[in-house]
Each structure stands twice: as C-alpha cells, then as structure tokens.
Symmetry: C2
Subunit: 496 residues, 2 copies
Amino acid sequence: MLSIKHININSFNENIVYLHKDCDTYKLDEIKGLTKVEIHGGAVPVYAFLEIVEDDGILKTNEIGLNNEAFSKVNLPEGANITISMAGPPASASVLQRKISGNILSSNEYSMVMKDIVAGRYSNMDIASFLVASGSFMTSSEVLSLTESLVGDEIIRWDEENIVVDHHCLGGIPGNKTDIIITAIVAAYGLPIPKTAARSLTSCAGVADTFSVLANVDMSESKLKKMIKECRGAIVDYNSLPIASASKIVSAVEKSLGITQQQHIVSSILAIKLAAGVTHLVLDIPVGPTSRIKTTNEAMRIRKMVEYIGDMLSLEIDAVITDGSEPVGNGVGAILEARDVMKILRNKEDAPQDLLEKSLFLAGRILEFDPKLRGGQGYHVAKEILTSGRALESLNKIIYAQGKAPQAQLGHLTRDIVSSRSGIVESIDNYQINKIGVMAGASQYPGAGLDLLKKVGDLVEPGETIYRIHSLTSNDFAYANSLADVNSGYEIVSKR
Amino acid sequence: MLSIKHININSFNENIVYLHKDCDTYKLDEIKGLTKVEIHGGAVPVYAFLEIVEDDGILKTNEIGLNNEAFSKVNLPEGANITISMAGPPASASVLQRKISGNILSSNEYSMVMKDIVAGRYSNMDIASFLVASGSFMTSSEVLSLTESLVGDEIIRWDEENIVVDHHCLGGIPGNKTDIIITAIVAAYGLPIPKTAARSLTSCAGVADTFSVLANVDMSESKLKKMIKECRGAIVDYNSLPIASASKIVSAVEKSLGITQQQHIVSSILAIKLAAGVTHLVLDIPVGPTSRIKTTNEAMRIRKMVEYIGDMLSLEIDAVITDGSEPVGNGVGAILEARDVMKILRNKEDAPQDLLEKSLFLAGRILEFDPKLRGGQGYHVAKEILTSGRALESLNKIIYAQGKAPQAQLGHLTRDIVSSRSGIVESIDNYQINKIGVMAGASQYPGAGLDLLKKVGDLVEPGETIYRIHSLTSNDFAYANSLADVNSGYEIVSKR
C-alpha cells in the first residue's frame, strides 16, 4: 500500500502516476519503457502511465504521486492508501488492433473503443493510433457507428421546443464566420439555436475563438438553457458543456497531432449536434481547389454520407455545397473576423459582401426549417431581419447575456503585403493564407491574423496593398513575413 | 529567461518541460491542450511537451523544470538561463501527414522522419501515428528506405573480420530460443557472431531476456569487440549498444502500443544487423496457422522482400522457412527456456529434440557461410561441435566473459493443466500459449511462464499433465489460470 500525494502537474488529459525509484512496495528496476498501470482503491480503477521520480523532495518511497488528471479521477484525499497493478490491455485493445490491421468494425466495437477512451484506458498514443488507423478507411456504416459512439449518453434535452436548429461548416476556409451572423438572425426570428462551436484545431480561429472576442463562450448546460429561453440563441464552446466527452478527448489528440480527417470531422460535428439536442442542421460543405474538400463529387459523397447518418439518427440535415475557392470575408483571425461580423450586423457600407450574402443564404435555409415559413422565403426574411437591425439587437442581447468580453488588442506589428504588378486577383490560396495567419500567431492570439484588402476579381495596381499582416510578437511576425515573402498566397494576372 | 531546474522524473523517452502556472515569462492561461515547445540555450534546440505545475515546492515562477530526458538533452547545469518558444512542426511533419493520407514515401522522406525522431522532435504520439500509417501499406522499396533510415550513421566496423555472421527469427513462436545454441556452436567453430538480441516486445521472453538469466547482456561497443576477439561470440541486448537509435525509440513505442507489424519488424531487424556490422545473416521465417506468418506464400513474399533489401544494402541473407505450427522446446518464459538450452548444450537425454534439431539445422546454414566449408556439411559439423561438448565450453566462456548472472528464481506458484481425456495432442495454439504465459507474468519476471510437458503428436491419458503454469505473484497466477481454464491452447483428439 502506498500513500497518495497530489503532484500538482497538469498533463492535459494524460493520467500519470509517479513512483519513487526506491519505492517501498514495487520493484521498479526492471521497468525499461512506458508502462501503463491500473490504480485501485477509488470507486473505479483508473488507468495511468507510470513515471519514475528520484527526488525525495517530490516524493517519498512510501508515497504514490498522482498528477492533476489522475488525482481528480481517483478522487481520494492525500494520504489515502492505494495500490497499483500492471494494467491489462483495455477491453477494446483487440478492436484497436483489428482496426490497425485494416478491418471494418461493428457499431458495438466503436462503442467499446469510445467507452475505454472516456474511462481513461487509452493513452494519447493509443488514441492517435486509432485515429490514424480508422482515418485511412471507414465505410459509411462505420462513420455512423463512430458518430453514435461519440454521442454517448450525455444528451441535452429541449422538452419545450419542437425543433432545435443549428448550423455548422465543414471548414477549411479562412475567415468565413457566417455562424455568428446566422445565429443572430435565427435567434431574432425566434427559432432556438444553441450554436455549439469549437476552438481552432488547425485554422487561424474557430467560431468559439472569434466569438470569444465579443463574449464569454463557456457555459453550463443550465446557463445554455436559460440563454435559449431568454435570447433564443447562444454561441457556446462545446468543450464547456458536459457532452460528447469522447469527442473532446479525440479532438485534443487531433489538435496536438495536427491531423484533420474528413470522416472524423463529420462524425465529431454530428455527434456534438446530436448531444446538444439539435433536431435540424444546415451543414455547409465548401468546395474549392484549396479547400479541404476539392471537388463537387467529393462534396456530394459527403452529403450522401451525412444524409444517411442524419436519417439513421433522426437528425434532419440540409447539406449545402458552397463556394470554397477563396477566403470568405476580409478578416482572418479572431479580432479581424469579429470586426467583419459587426460591420455586417451594423449594415456598414464597407462590410464584406461575400460573407454577408453567404450568411443570408445559409440563415435562410435554417429559417425554412420552420413549417410556418413559406418555401423560398427564407433568404428574404433573413435579409429583412438583418437590415432592420433586429439581428444586431439579437446579438447584443446574446453578448450581454453570455457576458461581454473585455476589449482585445489587435496585433500592433503590421506589414502591408503589396502587389508588384498591375492586374486582377486571379486566385487566393486558402492553405497558404491560413498558414501565414497561423504563423502570424492567429491560433494563439485573437489579435493576430491577416486583413485581406483584395479578393478574387479585384483590380490591383503596383505597390497597392493586397493584405496586411498583424502580429503580437516579433517571432511570429518574422515567421509570417518570411512565409509571405516566399509565397503570398495571391495569384495576380494581367488585365485581359 | 527562466532558470533551469532538474526535475528528477523519468518519462521513458518523452522530453517534458514544466512551467509554473504563474510563470514570470510566459502567459500560460490560454494553453488548453498538449503543447510542444522548443527549448533554446543548449547546443541544439530540444523539443519537449509542456506540462504545468502549480506547486512552489516543485517549481518557482522564475524556473523551468526539465525532466530527466530533457535535462540530459539540453545538457546545461541547473540555474542556467534558457528560453522556450512554441515549436513549429518538425521538418518532416508534412511527410508524416502524407503517409497518414496513404502516400508512398521516398527514401529521403523516410530519412527525414527518422532524423526528426532521433532528434526528439516527434512525440510518442507522432511516432505511433507514423507506425500505424506506414504499417497499413508499404512497398518493398519503402521497406528498403525505412531500413536504410533506421540504420542511420552509427555502424560497428569489424576491420579484422572477413565475414561477420548472425541469426535472427521473425518470431511469434513461444520458446524457440535456438539463438543461444546457434551462437555457442558458431562461436566454437570460430566464425565471429555478435548476436544482437532484444527484450520481449509482445512475447513471453525475447532472446535478451532468456540469455540474461545466464549472463549480463548489456555491453559497450568496445566490450563487444573484445568479446568477439576472445570468444568469437556474444549475445548482447542491442539497446545497450550505441546503434540504431531510431529503431530503439520506435520499438519502445511499439512495445507500449502492443503492435507488431511485419514490415516494421523486418526493417528493424535488418537495420540492427547492418548497424552491428553483420555481413551474413540466416533469417528464420516460421510458418504456421497460429504463427505470425500464416502461409508459405506469405513467408515467400517476406523472403523475396528481405533478399531484395539484403542485395541492395550488401547484406547476404539466407532466409529459411521453418515449421511454426507449435512452440519450439518445452519451456516458455526466460528461466524455463534457459533450462532447455542448457539441457541441449549438456547433451541431456531429456533435452527437447525439436529445439535441438532446429538449432543444428540453422547453425549448419550459418557455418556454410564459411567459404572453406564444403556445401552440405554445415549440419554435421554443427552436430559434432554440440555432441563433443565444444558448444557448451564455448557458451560457458561467453557467459563468464559477459558476466555470469545471479541465480534467478522459478515461479513458486504452480498449477498443472491436465488433460480431461485420452488421446493425441493434435495442435497447440501459439497465440493462446503466449497469452497465458504473458498473463502468468513471463514478460515481467524471468521465473514466470509455462512448461510444456506434451507436444504435438504426444499421447495423453485423462488426468495427465499437459503443461505447468509458473507465476511469482498471486494476481498473475489467477489471471493465467482463468485464461487457461477458458482455453488451454491444446487440442486433444481421440486416438485413431
């Protein structure tokens, strides 16, 4: 028996057990590699990786150290006595091996894997293996199984609502924060829209990042319910809600690995919507040569897949294929995107028209989920709500209710990337723009990013600014500049 | 600037940096997930994962903690000032993504990945992703590239030898420790055999585990050279030699994941042999329904692949397809296997004949690498060396020179698994036997394992023991017993 000591270290989802090299109870000489152990003594066994301490100041030979993650899961006070054993493989270990070997898994097998992940029986390494193995090939029915397993048991119920709507974009397009404008319009119309959003995975800013420039995005389930009751809308970081635990753990690993796999993204989005109690979803599938989805055929396959999953899990999905050939809006990065959004809601003349039109189009599709609205009227109703100022009023109410965010600082280190020639912007490379933005610090700092002053089809003169880089640190600034110097992401051709 | 504090924690190949939550220099509020950082100030940048400490006893706000791995790599004294930055992705990150997406990689790309792995720029999670992604599909030329990249720059040279021989088995067969007997015979004959062996990955015992029951298996390169000069043979845990760093890191991750992928195993074995300076290799490819390699066709594909790689990298390979239908020898687990080996070398009557014959056959193939030996004479010469006692003498000399191991203890918790019927042993399931042995504690304790008293073709009577389980802890013993009760691994049919 060893006595618990809380080692106040945050290891980001990895449970770690520390034992002293000369541990009283266990012989550690023979441990030569990563070892998974099972901690006994709490309500349920907790799985953890073993690390070895050789410093009496940190740990004594009769103690067992638990990092923050392990300490909170074991849920016993310091000084309590516990034991450990070598962890046998989790129940789903053979399933993981089967997937690594390229087999098709059953619904029950996906559910076994997710249960083990949520129970902490998988290391980040195991999860990465599962992601890579399943990412290389999944049937539609496997994506369905994965989605179901990601939903799990924690589902938000909306007993007072007939329909609960939401919108999500499959992503890969810089800027493109239609979500906030759509939420404002739909909430003003009166349909309940608990918009679940995420932080950036590999992009400059997720919807949760951008909206957090305006308001607090973390809330409890009861707060979300109050929001919908009072404001009809909310924009919430789904990580703060007690739903889709497996999806959160898996996403954290994906973020760290820097991988984004189409079928996992689709599964994860649909699982979060289902867990949030959404009944009607507009799914935006942008297509373009530098978008995540490159061809209309590919987009169509995804549409068929989500329609199938939606039908099987009783989620009405309107999957809309949109133009993903260039960034949407001018701002790329949280503060600059939030500025675009507010310009549109305030009906400013210099508001980005592409973002405006796309938002109205998608909001219209959502409004048409309302049985009372005549077919084909959605766009016009959405436009009326926006131009009348009701959307702005609605968003302000949401911001106030969620808690207004303190003013954030736009990156003061700026550089104008200028055109060397006269011509027309022929194309903008989404990947390169995202990469320069990330290098400028956008995925870390809301104030970093790019302000795109020219878009496809715009005329440019020699020396005219095509976009402006904003950074907060000189390191980020230098990286972004050197990347932009190699390839600005813009193709400019002579006037025809 | 932060001041280095050595946090004496061993994290098994993962570099970890600890910062205080209220760190003076870096703002840590926004860090919500696993974050990779680059440590500057040492000779080269060191990559590490960030963990956050909230305990002034462990770390102060002006300090940066480095775990054992990071501290030794940064190689600066405590109190030295260093900085960190967010780590950009390693040079080969896009290569990893390409492999995850199913592409074929070039030789240069494999080499980039391995360089980044050795430089510590990959986390265990990244390595796992690479393994799973490349394991699902590799061309022969990719396996060649991977092998070359695993060899790296650290190669042992044998300037005084014309040929340097070795033997290796592709594994998956319990028992089967021909290697030690072969080394004894070949060394007695006089061919230099620096037998590189490994600890168990997923089996009950690796060759290094079994031989470590008899002698110390860790040695430096100069010790190995002295061994070969004086004894003509040595059995060394390759992990103790300064070769094939990438292979060691990759194997540690494979061990922790519990995965074994054919092409990686082949690459890794050939890379270690090449790095050890071996010129002539006998490769044993056992085939059987419960062996790792199931069919002769599959074995033939592997033979062609290794011949191709051998030819390209100037390693003469004699790939031999052998019978892998049942365990080889009686003992499964280090001590029991070592007992079998010593019985054979001592020419005991009750020595396991299958292990004896297989060892002579393979040793004969190696002896025939000697240009001076007439074709077809290898087996007979090997047999003469064994029966004359010269092999025993040779092994005793090796054991003495490597350092005799202290007496180890055979597991005192034993149970006889008995036959419930009269009949003939029709088959023995290698997987099940290995699993029961591992559960009995064999991969942890040399004294745990199974003693197979009956083999395929043996007659059994009701109540007669077919094998005996040995464990050292009651937990292991209970696991192994319950597993054996469900499925003993033996199929016994009525006499014909």
